[in-house]
């Protein structure tokens, strides 16, 4: 293990512990019935273009190289696994990760919106987690906003020549965190009758963000591990999606 990698791990651990130990409760997706009808429709409509773009993007990827379907399935499965694991956090409550960073880095953010909606539908219908009425809002935060931020960060890191693993870590971590920030904002826009919109936003952020920080770091690390695994075993696929550049 090189010095730099050691430094990254220490930094991540310190970062996770820094966010004090304050018993609190938190939430993940927006619960069924917790957004007024108009908001449900608005968020849903907002998602449609992204979903269409995602569908086309996946179709294009598959038609260009059928073998990529394995990697795509894996990105989807990764979201499935990661978002089903509820992990205790420093705030004394559990939350789960999004897992969308991997797909966003490999296939671009639009494709992830399709993968994400599958997971969210599964959870909304079978697990009473999230909801059908709030599906649009949840898709927007988890499967669109998060992945786009992940992709953006990865892109910037790549352009500025940051170490690949560091950029994967940053992309997955910040994308995960951003998902929950978006959720907080969505909740605040809909619910601020008793305070101002920003007061409500602060409250929701205070509930979502601290719980999510360590989990976001975990997600970052797991994504790096998966990418390392893929780098050693799935070189042709990674090259085909443009993750690995050097055509050896």
């Amino acid at each position: 293990m090189s010095k730099r990698q050691k430094k990254i791990i220490t930094l991540a651990a310190a970062f996770a512990l820094m966010f004090g130990i304050v018993p609190n409760v938190s939430a993940m997706h927006i619960m069924e019935g917790y957004l007024p009808g108009a908001f449900c429709i608005a968020w849903g409509v907002l998602c449609v273009p992204f979903l269409i773009a995602g569908f086309m993007s996946i179709k294009k990827t598959i038609s260009q190289n059928r073998k990529l379907i394995t990697l795509l399935a894996m990105s989807g499965a990764f979201i499935f696994v990661i978002s089903s694991l509820k992990i205790p956090s420093v705030t004394g409550s559990c939350s789960h990760m999004t897992g969308t960073g991997l797909g966003a880095i490999l296939f671009g953010p639009a494709s992830v919106s399709i993968l994400g909606i599958i997971v969210l539908l599964f959870q909304a219908i079978l697990l009473a987690h999230g909801g059908l009425t709030t599906l649009g809002a949840n898709v927007f935060s988890m499967a669109i906003a998060g992945p786009f931020v992940s992709y953006g960060i990865y892109f910037v890191c790549k352009k500025t020549g940051v170490n690949k693993r560091v950029s994967v870590f940053l992309a997955a971590t910040i994308g995960d965190l951003f998902t929950y920030c978006v959720t907080a904002v969505q909740m605040a826009i809909a619910h601020h009758a008793d305070t101002t919109i920003f007061g409500a936003m602060g409250k929701f952020l205070a509930v979502f963000a601290p719980t999510q920080v360590p989990l976001a770091i975990i997600e970052g690390i797991i994504t790096v591990v998966i990418v390392m695994g893929l780098e050693s075993y799935a070189k042709p696929e990674l090259r085909a999606v443009g993750f690995l550049k050097e055509a050896k």
């Binding site: 293990m1 791990i9 991540a12 651990a13 512990l17 130990i21 018993p23 409760v25 938190s26 939430a27 993940m28 927006i30 619960m31 069924e32 019935g33 917790y34 394995t70 990697l71 894996m74 989807g76 499965a77 990764f78 499935f80 696994v81 089903s84 509820k86 205790p88 004394g92 409550s93 559990c94 939350s95 909304a124 697990l127 009473a128 987690h129 909801g131 059908l132 009425t133 909740m187 809909a190 619910h191 601020h192 009758a193 008793d194 409500a200 409250k203 929701f204 509930v207 360590p214 975990i218 690390i221 790096v224 591990v225 695994g229 893929l230 050693s232 075993y233 070189k235 042709p236 090259r239």
Partner: protein, 104 residues
């Protein structure tokens, strides 16, 4: 490489389980209800107008054990796919000549 992976996995486990031991009297639950608590705080007049489909069919809350079963199914499906694909990749690498050719 192998060492890095192991170190990373240990880091993940530490971050995940330290809170469990550090906060002995915390509840670690009610994650879904928590958001509703805040809604109560900032918008007390709001009434949720829909309930989850599954709960409506059952006419009540999903039992905790059943919920964990369903979560396990979700994890199982995901892990199954990842393991299958990864297994294929690993096997394939054995047959490929040092990743020089991109043959399909």
């Amino acid at each position: 490489m192998k060492k890095t992976v192991i170190a990373l996995i240990i880091a993940v486990l530490l971050i995940a389980f330290i809170p469990l031991f550090a906060l002995k009297d915390a509840e670690f639950g009610g994650s879904d209800d928590a958001g509703s608590v805040v809604v109560e705080e900032v918008d007390s007049s709001y009434e949720p107008w829909a309930t989850p489909v599954f709960e409506r069919i059952l006419g009540g809350e999903l039992p905790g054990e059943v919920e964990s079963l369903l979560f396990c199914i979700q994890t199982g499906i995901g892990v199954g796919i990842i393991a299958f694909v990864m297994g294929r990749f690993v096997e394939r690498k054995k047959w490929m000549k040092e990743d020089t050719n991109d043959n399909h």
